[in-house]
């Protein structure tokens, strides 16, 4: 296994790692092992962290063993008493005999209660489940005998089989076109469930070629880091785990329980790129889980391996809020994208006014942590201050000129050291320059390119590198302009800089796509901001410049397109990972004309605006 590809974890990178039968020594280093006996089975349990702290139990899925949680467990162990166990038949736990009938959810509930009683006899535990761990978790969270033993439940990519049964029934009962499509979509995604119901073949495949090629398949298809997982027990885990499906799926899908209401607060983390589970499965979840917090991540199925930072942050926040008994913050994040950006670190340049400020506020409203960067420290501080009022968890203001390489490098170092790796970077800072090419001095050109282009380059270079090195995705938004499509005789410098930003974004998008980092170029158009009032107008004396600025500002005021709408477009673009986003009507039509009627575009470029 190539150690160089290993993702950043809290484990010391020591000697060459080997796949061992246990995997505990390497992946769960520092863990305290114990065995728990229940119903004729021996379960292998590992504990990390101080046992006086709140207990968080992590339950793995299929085909996995407890080591799948290694990255998350190490991130949580300083704050919590982290407990992991191998589900019966997996990893170092023993398997029931006979296998048939030994994996029912009732028996799995017994196992969980035995582990909970052993590791935290006095206090209820916080449960986190991924995949089948989450399917089990829903059972634990909805049956009566776990009441008082469970404090909260975080579900990742694993629906309750009972809720799933009701979901199917509802759609069969009233198959509107949309609901029928949802049913067929999930039906197709569940192909592996049907395959696992065939006798013997899955076992043969797992113990043969599939078991061998699985790690490589995972790296290719799911983009998980190659870090010594899965352990050598994979073929056995996967072969035994087939009985999870055979013992439970048909029974529950046919006759789902009607009392499957969650008796604890539930945090639902939905990966939007999951190839096995449709997002629509959770549409009606609010009726089953009264205290539901939704989170989404733009990743595939194996979240604990691909996004341990975000996952552990959400788990920690959720558990802490339940432990302290008070709501985590006031006001609660709202807005349409709170599930996506809550707790994420967002850096916005040019956040002292206009689109940057509105964007900072929009992210703040969604519960993000916001770093407001501006050349003018006072207005950056104001943005940070107001952002906290509308719901940002934490805000910081930084006074930086984006065109200054050293200042930007210092900022990147400070952010990485003190606030963490940026999840969303918005390179928004820019200046306006207007005037004929022959009137534009080299100083004007330098200033324009320094801010509008080099500012973006520095941002992408420094923070993009941090994102890529972390290997857990991210997003970069660059503010280009409608002038990037539309040549204009009065905007040579500005249009050039923005066209460069557009092309830079497209190239960078191609480069970073493989690392799960999206890049968006936003092209706003005429937006009612300060840009016209502060623009440099070349080839004019001071008075004429003042006059024209004022006139342009008034025209922008009459157009009155609010920066808040651009901010909404930016958040939407990040959620949808769009490449180029023209925002206003003029930006959209400029893009269409540029594509389909280049002659018209050139004709428009010749018009001398009556300013």
């Amino acid at each position: 296994m190539n150690r160089k590809q290993e993702s950043r974890t809290h484990r010391p990178s020591g000697a060459e790692q080997q796949k061992t039968a246990s995997g505990v020594e390497q992946l769960l280093e520092g863990g305290r092992k114990r065995r728990v006996h229940t119903g004729g089975i021996e379960l292998s349990v590992v504990e990390l962290g101080d046992s006086d702290r709140p207990t968080v139990v992590l339950v793995h899925g299929y085909p996995d063993s407890k080591e799948v949680w290694a990255d998350v467990a190490h991130r949580l162990k300083d704050r919590f008493h982290v407990v992991l166990y191998d589900v019966r038949g997996c990893g170092e736990s023993t398997a029931p005999k006979p296998l048939r009938g030994g994996f029912t959810l009732e028996k799995l509930t017994d196992d969980f209660l035995a582990v909970a009683d052993a590791v935290s006899p006095d206090a209820p535990v916080h449960l986190v489940g991924h995949d089948w761990g989450s399917v089990q978790g829903w059972e634990f969270a909805t049956v009566h005998r776990t009441e008082g033993r469970l404090a909260s439940f975080t579900s990742i990519s694993g629906p309750s089989l009972d809720h799933f049964g009701h979901w199917i029934k509802n759609r069969l009962k009233r198959p509107t076109p949309r609901r029928a499509a949802q049913l067929l979509g999930q039906g197709a995604r569940s192909w592996y469930v049907y395959a696992l119901h065939t006798p013997l073949l899955p076992e043969l495949a797992w113990r043969g070629p599939l078991g061998k090629s699985w790690p490589k398949m995972m790296e290719r298809a799911e983009r998980v880091p190659a870090n010594g997982y899965p352990t050598r027990s994979l073929p056995r885990d996967a072969a035994h785990g087939a009985w999870l499906y055979r013992d439970n799926v048909r029974a529950r899908a046919r006759r789902p329980r009607t009392d499957c209401y969650a008796h604890v607060p539930v945090q639902l983390i939905t990966p939007t790129g999951d190839v096995f589970l449709s997002e629509r499965l959770y549409d009606e979840l609010d009726q089953w889980a009264p205290q539901l917090t939704r989170r989404t991540l733009p990743v595939k199925h194996w979240v604990p391996r691909t996004r341990p930072d975000q996952l552990s942050a959400w788990i920690a926040e959720f558990v802490t809020a339940r432990e302290s008994g008070v709501p985590a913050r006031e006001p609660a994040p709202k807005g349409p994208h709170a599930d996506r950006f809550a707790g994420q670190l967002v850096l916005v340049t040019g956040a002292g006014s206009g689109i940057g400020r509105a964007t900072a506020f929009s992210f703040a409203e969604a519960g993000a942590r916001v770093i407001a960067v501006d050349r003018d420290g006072e207005s950056a501080a104001r943005t940070a201050d107001m952002a906290r009022l509308v719901g940002a968890r934490q805000t910081w203001a930084e006074t930086v000129d984006v065109s200054d390489e050293q200042q930007m490098e210092k900022l990147a170092e400070k952010v990485a050291a003190e606030y963490g790796t940026v999840d969303v970077l918005v390179n928004n800072a820019g200046i306006g320059v207007a005037g004929a090419f022959l009137d534009t001095s080299t100083e004007d050109w330098k200033r324009t390119l320094d801010v509008n282009l080099w500012g973006v380059i520095h941002g992408c270079r420094l923070f993009g590198r941090q994102m890529a090195e972390r290997g857990q995705g991210g997003h970069i938004v660059n503010t280009a302009s409608a002038a990037a499509f539309q040549p204009l005789r009065i905007l040579p410098a500005y249009s050039t800089s923005k066209a460069a930003v557009l092309m830079l974004s497209e190239c960078l998008r191609a480069e970073l796509a493989g690392k799960g980092i999206g890049v968006t170029a936003v092209c706003p158009g005429f937006v009612n901001t300060d840009i016209a009032r502060t623009a440099r107008l070349t080839g004019l004396d001071e008075n004429a410049e003042q006059r024209r600025r004022r006139r342009a500002t008034r025209l922008y005021g009459i157009r009155d397109y609010p920066p808040e709408k651009v901010a909404d477009a930016i958040l939407r673009a990040v959620v949808r990972n769009q490449a180029v986003v023209p925002v206003t009507a003029e930006a959209r039509s400029a893009r269409l004309i540029a594509r389909f009627a280049p002659h018209t575009r050139r004709a428009v470029a010749r018009i001398q605006p009556p300013l």
Binding site: S353, E365, S379, R382, M386, L389, R533, R554, E564
Partner: protein, 283 residues
Amino acid sequence: MRPATIGYSPADLRGFREVQQLSYACAESVAARLEPGVTEREAARMQREWLRERGVRDWFHLPFAWFGDRTAFTGFKIPLQFFPTNRALEPGMPFILDMAPIHNGYTSDIGYSGCLGLNPVHERLMTDLREHRELILREVRERRPLREIYEDVERLMAGQGYVNRHRAYPFGVIAHKIDRVKERRWSPTVFGFGTNALRGLAKDALHGHRDGWSPLWSPYRFSDHPPRPGLWAVEPHLGFRGTGAKFEEILVVTDSRDPGESAFWLDDDLPHVRRRREEATTV
């Protein structure tokens, strides 16, 4: 002694001050009676009834009430949306009561912003409105063109991180002239506005059009003139992501050469001014 304003005797100013006090008393009384579940229509009716009981028979405009994000005029496209709706008040919601009664021939036009319970955003907006009150008075005393003052107010709002929401009013006005209104037996309203008061405004508009000024203080060219002596109901309105706040009160503009006398707020004993004084003393 020369009256403070050409055309208005001290008794007149006292009359305007009294009806403004009456309006703010009405606003405070209604605001104290607001509770979760009260709708905008009910709040508007409460204002109307309170003032009718105290002898108000004519209006510059009928009382308005805006709750929640309607205080920031979110999604307002047509003027009919200003009228009170069935939106119910909820805890933490900001609200604005806006009324313009005419009493004994004197007009007032006031705006009262409040909040049901705690709302830090609203608190901040109310605090930041103070700067606007100072800025407007200062620049009017400097005899700057109204259009420029409008732009300066807008710039201050943008600097504070807010959106100019008085742009949503008819003609985008930040202020308009008000005047004495003759008491008539019949005083109908059209789309919420009293015909008698509108007649005065129209007359001003006509005269102003001839002389190069306008009774509407707007961002447009027709407001590109120095402050015109008279009584102006000034109403800067801040909006911030679904929360709006404003005040509205009478600014007296005279033709005096003494800067202190050339313009002054008719009355400083108003809730939003007292609030500032209390804030200042606690600090």
